[in-house]
């Protein structure tokens, strides 16, 4: 099976998942919206009864009032989409979501009501935070992991392993809270809130952003790099025992070249997949970490949407998270299949 065919298959798979998730989100939210819309409709009907309805009752009698009320109710039901069946509504909503038509929020966020515009402001901020952090983690993790693998069993290796096990059990957002307590509250080195200053422009804005990014990035790196280094170490130790490394050593290839030229290249496929899945995994953690740091990205926006019951924004954000995530999955598969041709003939040979 060719690489292209494999790729097309992966993309079709991702699109199928996207359809399913969109359907789930719509089904969930139509249910919520139905309840609030029904109460809104009754409220409006009551208002009508007290004003116009009362007038009709007085001038034209009870029968005319009942007729007018029924007509009013029907028109309101149409307005709030209460007259069409549940699944039809879900279908409509899903279709609109797939077309990126998310609608508007009831309250302006970032100075606009349009959900697409709000997301457009927040996404780059989240990506900035987590890309910066992940790049640092990758560099640190690979470098330290390789070092530990070269000196397996040394004090450095053991220390790294213990550190990795410890940080593996820490929730990132709790570490963030602790770092806020220590570095922002007690020592005052960093700001307590990472909300950007909207008045700044140009160089001052860049400086402000960097200053506010520092603590969240530091937290992310602190929690994640240990596990990274540890996994790299384990993969490298496995690779260093392979025959071709022995052969290279016997040939007299310099150790530096063996490690970074031969071994690391052989260990690249799992590490690259790890990189992509680390980026994807950070999206989930971002929701709470951004909330803790009061960082104005997607995660905090998600929280605000939940709190203010902005269903349209929630749908838009979830859809966006899913698209980003699936794009990552496809990208990982792409790179993995490229680096390691066995993937295509192995698990998915029959496809």
């Amino acid at each position: 099976m060719g690489y292209l065919k494999y790729l097309v298959f992966r993309i079709l798979n991702a699109i199928l998942v996207l359809l399913i998730v969109t359907f789930i989100i719509s089904a969930l939210f139509v249910k919520v919206a139905e309840e609030s819309n029904r109460s809104k409709m009754y409220e409006e009907l009551m208002m009508w009864e007290r004003t116009e309805g009362a007038k009709i009752k007085q001038s034209q009698g009870l029968e005319a009032f009942e007729q007018a009320k029924a007509a009013k109710q029907a028109s309101l039901e149409e307005k709030y989409e209460l007259n069409i069946p549940y699944w039809q509504k879900v279908y409509k909503k899903a279709l609109r979501t797939l077309r990126l038509d998310f609608g508007t929020t009831s309250m302006p966020i970032f100075g606009t009501n349009n959900v697409s515009d709000i997301i457009k402001v927040a996404v780059p901020r989240s990506i900035l935070l987590f890309t910066t952090a992940t790049i640092i983690v990758i560099i640190l993790g690979i470098f330290l992991g390789v070092r530990a693998a070269r000196h397996a069993g040394s004090v450095f290796d053991r220390g790294l392993s213990i550190f990795a096990l410890l940080t593996y059990s820490l929730p990132m957002w709790w570490t963030g809270m602790m770092f806020l307590l220590i570095f922002a509250f007690k020592l005052g080195w960093f700001p307590l809130s990472s909300m950007f200053d909207p008045q700044l422009t140009g160089w001052a804005h860049v400086k402000d952003v960097l200053w506010k990014l520092a603590l969240p990035v530091f937290t992310y790196v602190f929690v994640v790099f240990g596990g990274w280094a540890w996994t790299t170490r384990n993969i490298m130790i496995g690779t260093l025992q392979e025959d071709f490394i022995m052969a290279a050593k016997a040939k007299g290839v310099p150790e530096h070249k063996i490690i970074y030229g031969h071994a690391l290249r052989a260990a690249a496929p799992p590490i690259v997949t790890m990189i992509i899945f680390a980026l994807l995994g950070s999206l989930g953690g971002a929701i709470i970490s951004e909330l803790v740091f009061n960082y104005p990205g997607m995660g905090r926006l998600y929280w605000v949407a939940l709190q203010q019951n902005e269903t349209n924004l929630l749908i838009g954000l979830t859809y966006f998270f899913t698209v980003l995530y699936l794009a990552g999955v496809v990208l990982a598969d792409m790179i993995y299949g490229f680096l390691d041709p066995r993937v295509k003939v192995g698990a998915s040979a029959k496809m």
Partner: protein
């Protein structure tokens, strides 16, 4: 497999496990955790989850104060909580109509502030003669000989007298402060509103107050006056035959500026009790979720591998679909829209989104086992699919399953804590995530309430570490490939 083989294998495994220092450490931690979780009702407060949400239950506790042991590490010492019951109080009857209740309170040297407040409750009064209802005076005698009149000629009722939360008492303290420092008498109406509502009016009662000092200065920056204080409740009951006052349940509490083992939160809840109880939920959810998702993943993966062909393709597509769904946003959405959430529902959600990885790995393992001759022999002898899967393939994956179960506990614990932290948790349970959620809502980090933030997270970390230690040790023994490391 014969029983003897199982016993031998287990013995061998134990021997090897004993050599893994990290594994032993993990098991010790696990035993401690289980003991703590099981004994929570006896070591702390029984039925805590029911009491946790009622703010009335915690009224006798100070709010937002650090643990008492923190005093050992700081020069700014904070007084602990002190409670007086009937036997700790001095009760005298100077005449038939009068009852005087005295509480001796020592404000120890080198402490920076007095108590956060004083609460008197448990006075049982039944008035039979409303014309001659009992009245009382409440005052505080200070070591410098000054007397602060807190309440004068108040009708005695069965309620609570609360110094520090009662605005009349706060106003009276202010009037007394002005009287001592400036020598003039002011009325209730001259007391600034902000003083009554916002300022801490208990600290000045235990501070140096001399003529000529500035009142605002004393309120804002009270200088401690150490020594023995005496709180006096002087009850005058003109008709002792008709009005009954029973003091058996009386309880006088000098609220601390520090409290217990872990301090208190914004409602005065004992955080230590909450954290101990939180371990129950954390352990239960962690173990339940990881066991269930491992079992489901194993069976799913093995079945998929064994059936092969189209069935395998179909099952793996479903697996991929689940694996490609970003779980946390979807979990939050489902949690937020479903409304009523129980712990079992959270377990269910976490299992639904947690079995995919294990299914994948066990499938690839089962694919190898499937090709072995004894499976073919079993099939030739007429064994059914179910029998081959459950009797011949699954048992071989069991050792691997134990390591996976242990290693996936931290993820489940963190996932539950994350959901609770976002406010999507079982409201009837006390969990670490919910404690942290309250801390976040009350901006505990930006106010420096470390005792509220640090312990729940440490709890999560300890549970995680326990299972990671056990899991990696198991992995090393049971996965021969890693034994070389």
């Amino acid at each position: 497999m014969r029983w003897v083989d199982v016993k031998e294998g287990f013995k061998e495994f134990l021997e090897e496990f004993k050599r893994e220092k990290t594994g032993i450490a993990g098991v010790i931690l696990l035993v401690i955790l289980v003991l703590v979780a099981l004994t929570a009702p006896y070591t702390t407060i029984p039925d805590l989850p029911e009491k946790w949400r009622s703010s009335a239950y915690w009224e006798d506790n100070p709010k937002n104060v650090p643990p008492t042991w923190y005093n050992m590490f700081t020069s700014q010492k904070l007084v602990p909580q002190e409670v007086y019951y009937i036997n700790d109080l001095k009760i005298t009857h100077p005449s038939d109509t009068r009852t005087v209740i005295e509480a001796d309170y020592n404000f120890p040297d080198r402490y920076i502030l007095g108590p956060q407040g004083i609460i008197i409750r448990g006075l049982n009064v039944s008035v039979g003669d409303p014309m001659n209802a009992p009245v009382f005076d409440l005052y505080l005698l200070r070591p410098d000989g000054k007397k602060i009149p807190l309440l004068k000629n108040k009708p005695l009722s069965a309620g609570t007298i609360s110094v520090g939360r009662d605005s009349t008492i706060s106003a009276n303290v202010y009037i007394w402060l002005v009287n001592v420092t400036e020598g003039r008498e002011i009325t209730m109406f001259e007391v600034p509103l902000q003083t009554i509502l916002i300022s801490d009016m208990v600290a000045p009662m235990f501070a140096k107050v001399e003529p000529g000092m500035n009142v605002t200065q004393i309120i804002e920056n009270p200088e401690p006056l150490w020594g023995n204080y005496k709180l006096v409740l002087d009850i005058n009951n003109p008709a002792p035959d008709k009005n009954k006052i029973i003091l058996d349940n009386i309880k006088v509490t000098f609220l601390g500026r520090s409290y217990g083992t872990m301090g208190t939160d914004y409602l005065g809840r004992d955080l230590w009790a909450g954290i101990i109880w939180g371990s129950r939920v954390s352990l239960t959810i962690g173990v339940l979720v990881s066991v269930l998702s491992t079992v489901i993943g194993l069976v799913y993966g093995v079945t998929s591998a064994y059936l092969g062909g189209n069935a395998d393709e179909f099952m793996m597509r479903i697996n991929e679909i689940f694996a490609s769904i970003p779980s946390l946003p979807i979990l939050i959405l489902i949690g937020a829209t479903m409304g009523h959430i129980t712990l079992m529902f959270i377990v269910l959600l976490l299992v639904i989104f947690g079995w995919m990885g294990i299914a994948r790995i066990s499938r690839s393992m089962a694919l190898q086992i499937k090709e072995q001759t004894y499976i073919e022999a079993a099939r030739a002898l007429g064994a059914g699919n179910g029998r081959i899967i459950f009797k011949h393939i699954l048992p071989q994956l069991l050792p691997y399953a134990f390591a996976v179960i242990a290693l996936s506990v931290p993820g489940a614990v963190i996932a539950e804590a994350s959901l609770s932290f976002l406010g999507i948790g079982d409201p009837t349970a006390v969990t670490w995530g919910q404690i942290l959620n309250a801390a976040q809502n009350q901006a505990a980090t930006t106010k420096g309430y470390w005792w509220w933030v640090l312990p729940p997270g440490l709890g999560i970390a300890v549970v995680g570490l326990t299972f990671v230690l056990i899991g990696t040790a198991l992995d090393k023994i049971l996965n021969p490939r890693l034994r070389r490391l």
